[in-house]
Symmetry: C2
Subunit: 211 residues, 2 copies
C-alpha cells in the first residue's frame, strides 16, 4: 500500500508522513517546511496527519525522533572496530559532525525546544540513546585537572558542548573553511588532546543533575 494508492485509506500514513517530512526538510529548509507540503507529497489532504500526530509539532517531533536514531547510528558506525581511547573518541565525534553536516536542517530541528516536544517519550528514548554513545566514549576521558570544579559529569558536558558547538557554528556558516567541501570536517580540528583513565564508571546523569 506504499504505492500510488487508489483506496480512500492510505494504510501506512504515519511512517509515510515521517519519511516525506525527512525528505522535504532538507529540500526546503526547516523554516519553510509546512504540514501541507508534507501531506501533499504523500498524496493526502492537509488535515489527514491530525489522525496520527498532535498537530505540526507532533509530526516534527516524530521526524526529530527518527533523526536521533540515525544520529546515534552514524556515531556507532564510526566507532565500530576502533580501539578504545583516542581513536574511538575521534570516531564518535566525527560521526556526530558527519551527521550534522549531512542533515543540517534535521539536526537543527532535533535540538529545537520550540519546534519539537522534548517531553515526548519516544523522542526522549531516542535522544537519550544518542547521548549514551557519546557518554560511553567520555567514560574513560581525563580532560580535567584534579582541582577542576563542577559536577561529576563535567567531562561529558565539556565533550558534548565542544562537538555540538562546532557542528552548529559550521551549519550556521559562522565558521568557514577554504576547501569548500572537499575535505570533510574532522573532530581532530577542535578536540584538545585528552588523557585517559582506566574505565572508571561515573554515575548516570541523564543530562540532568536533579538527583
Amino acid at each position: 500500500m506504499t504505492e500510488n494508492r487508489k483506496s480512500y485509506h492510505h494504510g501506512d500514513l504515519k511512517p509515510a508522513l515521517i519519511t516525506a517530512g525527512l525528505e522535504l526538510l532538507e529540500e526546503t529548509g526547516l523554516e519553510n517546511l509546512s504540514l501541507r507540503a508534507i501531506a501533499a507529497r504523500v498524496g493526502v489532504s492537509h488535515t489527514a496527519p491530525k489522525n496520527h500526530f498532535d498537530g505540526l509539532r507532533g509530526l516534527l517531533t516524530a521526524i526529530a525522533t527518527e533523526g536521533f536514531r540515525r544520529h546515534a547510528a552514524e556515531m556507532r558506525r564510526g566507532v565500530e572496530g576502533e580501539p578504545p581511547g583516542k581513536p574511538r573518541l575521534h570516531a564518535a565525534c566525527d560521526g556526530y559532525l558527519r551527521f550534522a553536516l549531512a542533515n543540517p536542517e534535521l539536526f537543527r530541528l532535533m535540538f529545537s525546544k520550540t519546534l519539537c516536544n522534548h517531553q515526548d517519550p519516544d523522542l526522549m528514548a531516542a535522544s537519550r540513546a544518542s547521548y549514551e554513545v557519546l557518554r560511553g566514549i567520555a567514560q574513560g576521558l581525563d580532560w580535567d585537572k584534579a582541582d577542576a570544579p563542577g559536577a561529576p559529569w563535567r567531562t561529558e558536558w565539556m565533550l558534548w558542548s565542544i562537538v555540538h558547538g562546532y557542528a552548529l557554528l559550521l551549519i550556521e556558516g559562522q565558521i568557514a573553511r577554504a576547501g569548500d567541501g572537499a575535505a570533510p570536517f574532522k573532530a581532530s580540528e577542535i578536540l584538545p588532546d585528552f588523557g585517559y583513565r582506566d574505565g572508571t564508571t561515573e554515575p548516570d546523569p541523564l543530562r540532568s543533575s536533579s538527583a
Copy 2:
C-alpha cells in the same frame, strides 16, 4: 516622538521597531514573533516597516545586529579589570553565557542563518566585533599540544565551539542542573585548564580561512 504619537508620521520608526522587536522577542519567543505584532506595539500599520527594512528578515537582521552589540558589551563588561590569563578568559566566557541565558531568544536569532541575513554589512560588523572579544582572549591561550593538527586559529575555534555549544545546550534544555536558576552557570564548569603563552599574535582569520 517616542511617545503616543498623534502625527501621521512617527518620526523615529526605525529604532522604535528594533526596540519593540527586542522586547517582543523574549516575550513571545522567536518562532512566534511576528512583523505585525511588532508594528502593532509601536502603533503603526503592519506595512510601515517596509519603508525601513527589507521585509521581516531585514527587521530581524537589525534586531540581531543590536543583539551582537549587547553581546560584545556583556563580554567586555566582564573582562574589564580582570588580569590577563585565566581570569580574563573565564570572565569573557561567563559574559558569553550570561548574555545567552538572559536573552535566549535573541541569542538563537543571532545565530540563525535563515532568519537573519549574515551578509548584511551592519550585522557583519557587529558580529565580528563580538567575535573579536573572544578572539582577543584566545590570543595567549595554549590549548594545543605541539603536534596538534589544524589551522592556526584552531584554538579560537575550540574555545568558541565549547562556549557556544554549552550556551545552546543550556538554552534548548538539553543540559539541566539541580539548582533551578539559583546559581548562575559558569564557564568554569566546562572549560578545561589552559596553559598560556606570552602574547604571540596569530594571523587574523575573520572566521574564515579563505585566505
